[in-house]
């Protein structure tokens, strides 16, 4: 059985309470860091661990931390991104609901490493019940001297606050999140300056995903090198994967990076295969913003090697035949699913969530949604398919934040791999309203 570093104790009764969490070794990383390590030493361990951001982009956490500006007399902040709104992603909710103290422990140890004395958890407004769980746990941490003044007699002070969003996917983007945290509309900021220089209220700020912050706990406890031994290449440690769609056993799993995709989908310890005895048609392995893979590229790469759950292997083949690990939102489609319908569904999502600041994204996402609606509802033409590709090119790289790309890439990938199915919607519109296209066959020359 694979090692679990984050959610091993998630199902222990009352593990959400301070005392029970403590009985299972909780807050050891705070004791170790504050009593025996300098902030720089903690940063060093995180660098050694090879931990990469678990929010989607996969940027090395230790490196991000070392970019934090430290001007004299200016406050710094750590902000936890608990917005979790990338479709297919529901791992942070599980972690926070079951193990609120793990996140708080990670916030304390990480804030100490960064020299932040006022840190924030920004959680999506729909998770209000999880916010209440966190509030209760934070109050317990204060009562037990883990937060507040002079923590464990170390002279280090930290205040931690959890605060809700109001329903806007874009607030998961880190600069939109900071705007929102300042009480404004969630319009992403122009970069540079990056948050590490000018973040919350203009102060140097690190924004990290819930899971990244939680991972700092085992890294400090066991050492960065031990953590880096798990996994393959530059994909170190464990990762929470939230699996959804047509699976026998969807849910949240902690995997060691390097597990094969085959084992994850079909293995007894994981998703146990496709629901209702159906066949796999496609998979979006890293949340709705990453390219879709047709069934013949899910468990194998185009080169014929086993596809693994790592940043590198899932991206193998680039955009031509690969995808991305992203946030770990693993969405599985069975043979009865319609790719055109799903592509339209996600296009509608992005059109709905575009903040409207840049015209390529605001207009482009709306256009794509309309064109895909036509195709799905039997009113499309073959030109519509090329039109989608053109709109895509206009959005790509021309926007303030990556939402534009996130909307465009998946459409491009769907057309690339499922063109036949799109064309069928045009050529046989009536039939397409009645039945699904079914599986596509792999190209002979793979």
């Amino acid at each position: 059985m694979a090692r679990k570093l984050l959610i091993e104790h998630a199902e222990v009764p009352e593990i959400a309470s301070y005392d029970i969490y403590r009985m299972h070794g909780g807050y050891a990383s705070v004791e170790k860091a504050l009593k025996t390590m300098s902030p720089e030493e903690v940063v060093e361990e995180v660098k050694k661990s090879g931990l990469r951001g678990r929010g989607g982009a996969g940027f090395p956490t230790g490196m991000k931390w070392s970019f934090l500006a430290k001007p004299e007399g200016v406050e710094r902040h750590l902000v936890c991104n608990a917005d979790e709104s990338e479709p297919g992603t529901f791992k942070d909710r599980y972690l926070m609901e079951k193990l609120p103290h793990l996140l708080i422990e990670g916030m304390i140890t990480s804030s100490y490493a960064l020299g932040a004395r006022r840190s924030y958890i920004y959680i999506r407004g729909e998770f209000m019940y999880v916010l209440r769980i966190l509030e209760k746990a934070i109050a317990e941490a204060y009562a037990n001297g883990m937060l507040g003044k002079n923590i464990l007699g170390s002279g280090y002070d930290l205040d931690l606050v959890v605060t809700p969003g109001g329903g806007a996917y874009i607030c998961g983007e880190e600069t939109a999140l900071l705007e929102s945290l300042e009480g404004k509309r969630g319009n992403p900021r122009m970069k540079p300056p990056f948050p590490a220089v000018k973040g919350l209220w203009g102060n140097p700020t690190v924004v990290n995903n819930v899971e990244s912050i939680a991972a700092v706990v085992p890294i400090v406890n066991e050492g960065g090198e031990a953590y880096a031994k798990i996994g393959i290449e530059r994909s170190t440690g464990t990762k929470l994967i939230s699996a959804s769609g047509n699976l026998v056993r969807p849910g949240v799993y902690e995997i060691e990076l390097g597990l094969s995709v085959e084992e994850f989908i079909y293995g007894d310890d994981y998703c146990r295969g496709i629901a209702n005895g159906k066949q796999l048609k496609a998979c979006i392995p890293g949340g709705s913003s990453v390219p879709i893979l047709p069934h013949y590229l899910v468990t194998k790469t185009a080169a014929g090697t086993d596809r693994l759950m790592t940043y590198e292997s899932l991206a193998d083949g680039g955009f031509a035949s690969g995808s991305m690990l992203g946030s770990g939102g693993f969405i599985v489609f069975d043979e009865d699913q319609c790719i055109v319908k799903n592509t339209w569904n996600f296009a509608r999502f992005y059109a709905h969530e575009s903040c409207g600041q840049c015209s390529p994204c605001r207009e482009g996402t709306g256009w794509m949604e309309k064109v895909l609606y036509r195709l799905e509802h039997g009113q499309g033409t073959l030109e519509d398919i090329s039109l989608l590709e053109e709109i895509n090119k206009k959005i790509e790289g021309n926007t303030i934040c990556p939402l534009g790309d996130a909307a465009a890439w998946p459409v491009a990938a769907a057309i690339r791999h499922f063109r036949e199915e799109f064309e069928w919607h045009v050529k046989a519109p009536q039939e397409a309203q009645k039945r699904n296209f079914g599986l596509i066959s792999a190209p002979i020359e793979a």
Partner: protein, 175 residues
């Protein structure tokens, strides 16, 4: 949307309950001096919890409490989709319609609720008990089809579970 009204800023601020006011003081206390505006989303949630929706009068009151211009509150309230800017039913059923939920039957779920309540998405039942809305991914994708009502998640919904849920909500609304 009512905030389009040219007289919006002149609409009289409404009073909040003592309990809401206490909570507002608490969430404002979470942020440093001069940064109280950061509490605005918390406050709008509290207002909606009390009244069921967020009226112009309520937003004007929030502006007074935070010592900011009313437009700053309208801007925020209109940006975030959780805030209802028009009156809604006692129970707002917010069904997730996004990809992963759609793969496991959210279309059927929406159609079933429409039929059961005899309303379309966006409408409120005549007795004022239910409003049906669709929303984008709620972070429960592996447990779909699902909906949220009063911050509570109802997951892996079937027709039977929907019937039970609606009955329980009707019962709770009687008291």
């Amino acid at each position: 949307m009512k905030v389009d009204h040219p007289q919006a800023v002149n609409e009289a601020p409404i009073e909040f309950s003592a309990q809401t006011m206490t909570e507002i003081q608490r969430v404002m206390g979470l942020f440093p001096e001069g940064k109280k505006k950061s509490a605005i989303l918390s406050i709008l949630h509290l207002v909606q919890d009390e009244f069921g929706w967020v009226s112009v009068g309520a937003m004007n009151k929030v502006a007074l409490l935070l010592n900011i211009q009313p437009i700053e509150v309208y801007e925020v309230a209109t940006f975030y989709t959780m805030f209802h800017l028009d009156p809604v039913g006692k129970n707002v059923l917010e069904v997730c319609r996004t990809g992963p939920c759609q793969l496991v039957g959210s279309d059927d779920l929406i159609a079933y609720i429409e039929e059961k309540l005899d309303i379309k998405v966006g409408e409120t039942t005549k007795d004022g008990l239910f409003t049906l809305k669709t929303v984008e991914c709620l972070g429960a994708c592996g447990y779909g089809p699902m909906l949220m009502c009063k911050y509570q998640f109802y997951e892996r919904l079937t027709k039977e579970k929907v019937n039970e849920m609606l009955d329980a909500m009707r019962e709770a609304s009687k008291s």
